[in-house]
Symmetry: D2
Subunit: 311 residues, 4 copies
C-alpha cells in the first residue's frame, strides 16, 4: 500500500491554475454538511499501475462519495447478479436528461431507467445488492471499498446520511415509481436508508485514486494482482464512466478530457485511465451541471499536457 505520494512542482502549478476557477462555482448546500465545505479546496492524487503516486493539495481530507458510489454499487450488483439480471432492469444508454429526472421512466415502454449513473438507475442497482438487511448490504459494500482501497476503517458519515435521508423525497418518488413498475422490490424506506449511507461513505483523494487504479487495472489489486472486480465488469464500469459519468456534461467531458471518470456532488471525481492510472480529486465548488468546476479544469489541463484522452 502506498503510504506517501511524491509531489511535483508541475502538478502543483496546474492545481493552482485550476483552483482559480473554483470561485465561478458553488458548493452544494441542499444539506448543511455539504454546505460547510471550503469552495477553494482542490486536491488530487494520481496512482499508477507501476506503484508510483503523485499528489497535490490536502489529499488526506475526507469527503463523501455521493454519486461516485454509483460506480461501486454497479460493479457489486453485477458481481452479485450477473450482467443479464442487472441490464434487464437498468439500461445501458446515456441520456440528455438531468440525473434526477423521472419523465423518461414514464415515457419509456416498458419503464426502465436509462442507465445506472442517473439516480433512478443507481437506486435500482443498489436495490440488487445481495444481503438480508440494510446492515448486511452496507457491510458488503464497505468490505468492497476496503478491498479496493486497502483501508479497512473506511465507513460512512452518519450525519451526512441522516441529512440526505430527510431530504430524499425526489429519490423516494423515483423509487415508488419504479416499485409500481416492478423495477425495484422491497421496502422503499430501507432502500433510501441504504442509498443515503452509500452516498455518505467517506474517503480521501488517495482512497479514490486507489479505487480508480483498481478499475483501471482491469479490476485487479495493483500490488498483488488479485482480482477484486472481474475484468469484464471493470470494463463495463469504465464504459459508463465515459458515456454517463459526469451527469449531462458527460459528452463534453469525454471530448475535452477523455478519461473515464465519475463525479459526485461533494466535489469528488474518480478517474480511471485503462491500464495506466487511477485519479482521485476533490474540489467542492460545483459548476451548473453538478461537477467540480476546478476539478474538471484540472483534468482538462492534465489531459492536454500528458495526452490522457483514450480517444
Amino acid at each position: 500500500m502506498i503510504t506517501q505520494c511524491e509531489t511535483s512542482e508541475e502538478l502543483d502549478q496546474l492545481v493552482e491554475r485550476a483552483r482559480a476557477y473554483a470561485k465561478e462555482g458553488k458548493v452544494a448546500d441542499y444539506i448543511p454538511a455539504l454546505g460547510q465545505a471550503d469552495p477553494n479546496d482542490l486536491s488530487i492524487a494520481v496512482h499508477y499501475t507501476d506503484g508510483r503516486c503523485l499528489a497535490a493539495g490536502d489529499t488526506e481530507k475526507t469527503f463523501t462519495l455521493q454519486s461516485i458510489s454509483k460506480v461501486l454499487t454497479l460493479a457489486l450488483a453485477i458481481m452479485d447478479n450477473g450482467e443479464d439480471y442487472v441490464f434487464e432492469r437498468v439500461g445501458m444508454e446515456p441520456t440528455g436528461d438531468p440525473f434526477n429526472s423521472i419523465a423518461k421512466l414514464e415515457t419509456m415502454i416498458p419503464s426502465k431507467p436509462l442507465n445506472p449513473m442517473i439516480n433512478a438507475g443507481a437506486l435500482a442497482v443498489t436495490n440488487m445488492i445481495n444481503g438480508n438487511t440494510v446492515e448486511e448490504k452496507l457491510g458488503r459494500l464497505l468490505a468492497f471499498v476496503h478491498d479496493m482501497t486497502g483501508k479497512s476503517h473506511i465507513t460512512y458519515s452518519s450525519k451526512v446520511a441522516e441529512s440526505e435521508f430527510k431530504t430524499a423525497n425526489l429519490n423516494r418518488s423515483l423509487c415508488y415509481f419504479m416499485k409500481e413498475h416492478g423495477i425495484i422490490q422491497g421496502d422503499v424506506e430501507e432502500l433510501i436508508d441504504l442509498y443515503t449511507k452509500q452516498c455518505a461513505i467517506e474517503v480521501n483523494c488517495n482512497d479514490l485514486a486507489r479505487i480508480g487504479l483498481v478499475i483501471a487495472n482491469e479490476g485487479k489489486d495493483p500490488e498483488t494482482d488479485r482480482e477484486i472486480i472481474p475484468r469484464q465488469i471493470s470494463r463495463i464500469v469504465k464504459t459508463f464512466m465515459v458515456t454517463c459519468g459526469m451527469y449531462n456534461a458527460s459528452g463534453e467531458f469525454a471530448i475535452r478530457v477523455g478519461i473515464p471518470a465519475k463525479s459526485g456532488v461533494s466535489g469528488g471525481i474518480l478517474g480511471a485511465y485503462p491500464n495506466k492510472l487511477g485519479i482521485g480529486i476533490c474540489g467542492p465548488a460545483l459548476d451548473d451541471k453538478g461537477n467540480s468546476i476546478a476539478g474538471i479544469k484540472l483534468l482538462e489541463m492534465m489531459s492536454a499536457r500528458y495526452g490522457l484522452s483514450i480517444f
Copy 2:
C-alpha cells in the same frame, strides 16, 4: 494505397458465424434503393496503421454512407468554422431519444440539437459547411472523402439521393424548427438537397476502413503522414462515435464492443480504434435500432477475441 487485402481463415469464420444473425434483422425499405440490398451480405475490411489489411466477404461492393456521413461533415464543419462556432449551435451530449426525434428541440431552452449524430444536429452541421452553393459544398465534402480514401472517383448515387429527398419530410420538419430558432440559416430545400446527397455517397468496405484508419491515425494519412484532419478534431470525432455513434444503442455497443464506430441505415459501420486500425463493414440487415445486426455481432466477436475495447 492498399490494392489487395489479405484474407484470414479466422476472420472468414467469424464472418460466417456473424452472418447467421442477419436473418433476425431487416433491410431498410423506406426507399426502394435500400430495400433491394441482400440481407445476407456481410463483408469487412480492416486496415492497420502499419499498412497491413485484412478482408472478408465482398469488400468491393458499394453501399451508401447514410448516417456514417455525419462523422465526415462534423469533421469538415469544425475544420471550416472552429469548435466554438459548431458547439454553440450543436451540443456534445448523448441522448436516450431516437435519432430522428424533435421533442428535445422544443423542451431544451435555448433550443439546440443535443449532438451532431442525431438528425437534427447533423442537419445543423451540414448547414455549416463552407461554400456558396449546394454543388460547391458537396464538392468540398467529396474532395474530403477523396482525400481520406485516396480514391478520387467516389461520388453519390443520384438515384438514392432523389428517393431520400422525396421522403425527407421529418428532416424538413427538423430544419424548419431549427430555422425558427436561429440554429440553421438559408434555404431548407437546398439543405435537404445537400444532406440527402451526402447520405447517398457510395463507398465500399475498403474505402470505409481507410476513412476509419485516417480517423484512428489522429487524422493523418497513414502512408504519407500528411494531416487530413487536425488531431484534436479527429479526437472529437472518435469521442462522438463512442458516445452517440450507434443511435440509441450506443451505450450498449460501447460496453459490448468498445470501438469508436458509426453506423448507417444502409448497413455500413465505420470503426476507428485509436492509433491502430480502421474498420469498414457492410451488412444490410438491421436490428430494431437501425444498426447492422450481423455487423454488430461481428464486431462483438472480434472485440472479445482480439481485445479491441478501448475501455
Copy 3:
C-alpha cells in the same frame, strides 16, 4: 328527501340499449374488490331541481366514489382555504396526459399539477383539507357528503381503502415529487391513507344524483335552499367537470354529451346539468380511458334525445 324515484319505460329502454356496450369494456381489476363487480350492471338515477326523480336499474347497489371524490374534495378545499390558496398550488388547465402522469410535474416550471382532476392535483387538494388528523379530515369530508346526500350513515369501505393503500405506489411517487417541490406538506403515508379512504366512500346512484343535484343547483340544498357549497365554488366544480371530468376523454365527452360530469374507476359517473338536474350512474365495465363504457353511451343517448348539452 326523495325516498322513491319514478320509473320510465323510455329510460329503461335506453339503459337496456346502453348496457349492450358493457361487454366491450372491462371491469377494473387492479384491486380484488373492484374486480368483483358485475360488468353487466348499469343503473341510473336522475334528480330534478323540482323534486322529481327518475331511476332505472338497481339504484340502491353501492359502489365506491374513486375519482368522483376529487370533485368533493376540491369543493371542500376551496371552502377551507379560498380560491387563491388552492389555485396557487394546483392549476386550472386541462391536459392531454393520462390521469396518473408525472412527467408534466417535472417539465412545468414551477412544478404544479395542471388541474385538480388528475391524481397529482387531487392529492394536492386532499392535502389542503382542514383538520389535525386523518380521522378529523375524513370526518369533515364525510360530513360534507352527508350534507349533500342527506344520508348520515354514508362511510367508506375499509376493505377497498386497504387494498388501494397497498397498491398506491404511483400516488406515493407523485406525492414525494410534490413534497420535494413544496406543493404538499406533511406525512405522505397519512395523505395516502386519507386519499384512499376518500376514494373508497360508498354511495349508490341516488346518492350520486343527489350530490349532482346540489352542484347543479348552485350549491344549494334543492329542498331547503340552504347553501351547502357557495355558488361560485359550485360553478368552479362544474367547469372542471366539463374540461377534465372524464380523464383524457373529457374533450370528446363534452362534444358527444355536453353535461358536466365526473367518472370513477368503479364505473360511477356523477352528472350535474346547471339549474336543472343531477345524475348518478353506475356501470362497472370501463373503456380504455377508464370511464364506464355503458354509462357514457347512456349519457350520449340521453343528451341526444333530451337536448342535455350545455353547448
Copy 4:
C-alpha cells in the same frame, strides 16, 4: 342586418375599467403589421338573438382573425368532410401544452394533433377544406364568412398574410411532421399560403359578434333562421371554444368567465353564449398566454355582472 348598435353607459364604464389592464400587456410584434396596433385600444360589440346590439369603443376598426379563424375552418371542414373524417385525423382533447408545440405529435402513438385549436390541429383542419386550389379553398372560406357576417366584401390583408408566410417556419415544421405521419396531404407551401391568408382575414368587432351570434344561435342566421352551420357542428365548435379556445389559459377562462370563446394574437376575441348572444372584442395588448389582456378582464367583469357563465 344590424347597422347601428346602441351604446350603454354601463358597458362604456366596464370597457374603461378593463382598458386600464392593457398597459400590463404587450402587442404581438413578430410581424410588423401586428406590432403597429395601439395597445390601448379596446372595443366590444354584443349582438343578441332578438336583434338588439350593444357596442362600446371603435367597433368599425378592423383587425385580423388570426387564431379565431380556427373556429371557422373547423366548422367548414366538418361540413365538407363529416365528423368522422375530421376526428380521425385531429383529436378532441384539450392539452396543457402551448399552442405551437410539436412534442406531443411525436409522443402520441399514432401521431395526431390533440385538438383543432392548437396550430398543428388547425393546419390539419385547413388541409381538409374542399377545393382544388388555394384560391378556391380560400374563396369558399370567405364565402362562409360573408354568409355569417352578411358582409360580402370581407377579405384578407395580403400585407399581413405575406409577413406571416415569411415567418411561418414553426408551422412548416408542424406540417412536414404531419405529412410524414400521413395526417396532412399535398403541398406544404400551399397549405401555409392558405393558412396565413385565413389568419389574415380582416373583420371588425361587429362582424365578429355577428359570427358569434350565428354560432350561439345553433348555426342559424338570427334574422332569417336559415341554417349556415348545422346545429350539431355549431355545438361542437362551442365545445372546443370552452375546452381549448383561449390557448393554455382555457381552463382558467372557463372558470373565471364561462363563455365559449376563441382568441387571436391580434387581440380579437369571439364569444358565443348559447341561444343568447354573440360577442366581438378587440384589444391588441396581450397577456403572456397570447390572449387580449383587457378583453379577458372585460369578459370577466361582464360575466360576473350579468351572470354569463354557462356553468
